[in-house]
Symmetry: C2
Subunit: 376 residues, 2 copies
Amino acid sequence: MTQTSPVGRPLRPRGKLLQEDARRHHRSLLLQQLFREGPASRADLARTSGLTRVTVSDLVGELVADGLVEELGAPAESRVGKPPTLVGLAADSTHVIGIDLSATDRMTGAVINLAGEVQARHELARDGAVGADAVALVHRLAADLIAMTRRPVLGIGVGSPGVVDAGGTVIDAPNLAWTDAPLAATLAEAFGLPVFVANDANTAVLGEHTFGATGDGGLMVLRVGTGVGAGLVLEGSLLHGHLGAAGEIGHVVVDPDGEVCACSRTGCLETILAVPHLRRRLSGEVDPTAVLTDAGERLGVVLAPVVGTLNLHELVLSGPTELLDGPLLDAADRVIRERTMPVSSAGLTVRTSRLGEDVVLVGAAVLVLAGQLGVS
Amino acid sequence: MTQTSPVGRPLRPRGKLLQEDARRHHRSLLLQQLFREGPASRADLARTSGLTRVTVSDLVGELVADGLVEELGAPAESRVGKPPTLVGLAADSTHVIGIDLSATDRMTGAVINLAGEVQARHELARDGAVGADAVALVHRLAADLIAMTRRPVLGIGVGSPGVVDAGGTVIDAPNLAWTDAPLAATLAEAFGLPVFVANDANTAVLGEHTFGATGDGGLMVLRVGTGVGAGLVLEGSLLHGHLGAAGEIGHVVVDPDGEVCACSRTGCLETILAVPHLRRRLSGEVDPTAVLTDAGERLGVVLAPVVGTLNLHELVLSGPTELLDGPLLDAADRVIRERTMPVSSAGLTVRTSRLGEDVVLVGAAVLVLAGQLGVS
């Protein structure tokens, strides 16, 4: 799913690596099947994976020994002959640490199980920390979270603002004053765990795709916060874009006669939709519905060409639901349909995130699940 | 590359099929290498494919016997020791029939070699043929083209207007009055050849991606003709969209106060950019540059959100160059850059197609190359 590379995986000799890669791939096939479809018998797993019964039994034995898979006994409805024993993913056998750095005033984290369920939460106030202080704060948060679970930790996932490269280095995150910050490498060294870092909007769309989406059609998650950015999963894969800048829709100009933006151009989508701008406009107006409807209509205008071009399945708004869910979403939905062909909008759902404020945390866990177990 | 299924491939027993699939996959690996990188020695092929020397020699022997690959002797610069013999794709050993149904007044076709070079052309006037008459005309064109080459024909590729499913059935093409027309199946039956049919904009983007693009970044080809539609290759794969309707940007509303469109809505991109509208406006104006600049600016407005969202590498306009190449393209390019972040537009090239009017024909050949040889 994601092309983010793991950091902290020990190097192995090349000959061994190919054999291990095949085994790892086969393990992933079985885990993916149990992850997506739920409990199954060994015979089911052999049938769907195309592996032999012997290989499946061998790998399942290994996964049970590792604690990732558990024996569930026979299904209740079995009546004729010796019922097959089902095995299933042991969701709470292993935990993942998810960290969300997208808020401006705090860093949030969670202990998450293999089913994407938050088991415990923790957050630290940022108090304006930037640069090395902000890195130290992420380390403290990770240490606190690891101490909160007694299960083995599969890895650490981080959703960071800004541009993040495939090796987990934050190339540029102005908010945190990070330039070429090797966050994955330093966390991996400090904790001896695999670490995955990705842009927060990309992390969000992976979370929504894995644990919130209804299908496998194109999914766009638009994150509305201090800024506005998007993550996209198209044809089952995260869209990176030519120079890794896919989803940069916040500074697309919507209204050339509008407000001057922080980026120095005029009328960017952010000047209309970002939370501080929305709240300021709501505080000065007597008719909040009119403000939200206007913002939603302008959002619809900018998204209609995107929906028409991509034939999206789901367009998800992620941010404060008291702002997004209601007149704003309704207006955006209406304008998108008015401005595209029925063939483009017939299969489209416009909604808010099913994961709410947890979407980046859960997505950060998906980075680890995909990278370490090959499931997503 | 494309998910279009071949039609006309004989069915084989399942056990045999798996073995043959592995062999076919390995053949494709070698052909893909020769197709993309040019001539290579057997040792080079073994190194890059990861296959053993013995397997490579065996497969190359088979490909030479099939005529797809030829021995090229030793490279001139070899001086020390026994020079390795190079093998290369035998571009003219086998031909492909490409057919373009996107024009309203004629059907065009070509005999194309494995390097994507047009060897011969042929066209038939449509004279308003629709329905079964139009199908009969495609069959006549295919028969004429097959008679024009003495080489073995690898298959027939067709770029058709309208919505085309993965099995090569044209679901809906109003221009030709086709509804659920099983074009691939009837052509395959008539000629005993593998046939691939896809939407013309998707076919065009495959042609440009394989034989006209400069890189592997996101590519969008905007076809401007009687209508306007787009095809996209993102992260190396053709974008289909949720219901197979990706690229339907022609009826995205650009100007709600504009002209009424054939689709009954107002101010669709087609009312601004389609060739008949452009020609009509040019014939009534004294300043053609102003007309073309205005159309280009409006195109830039509708494409800016798409470019920002996708971080495209190349945006290609395909259609009459006397209309597109000049003030129109320049204005679109300028407005897209004015309306997106530098990070979105820095790596972007906006240009006309390198394949000119042949883009659908060559793309139709790519459908066959991808489907039959696994190269693209």
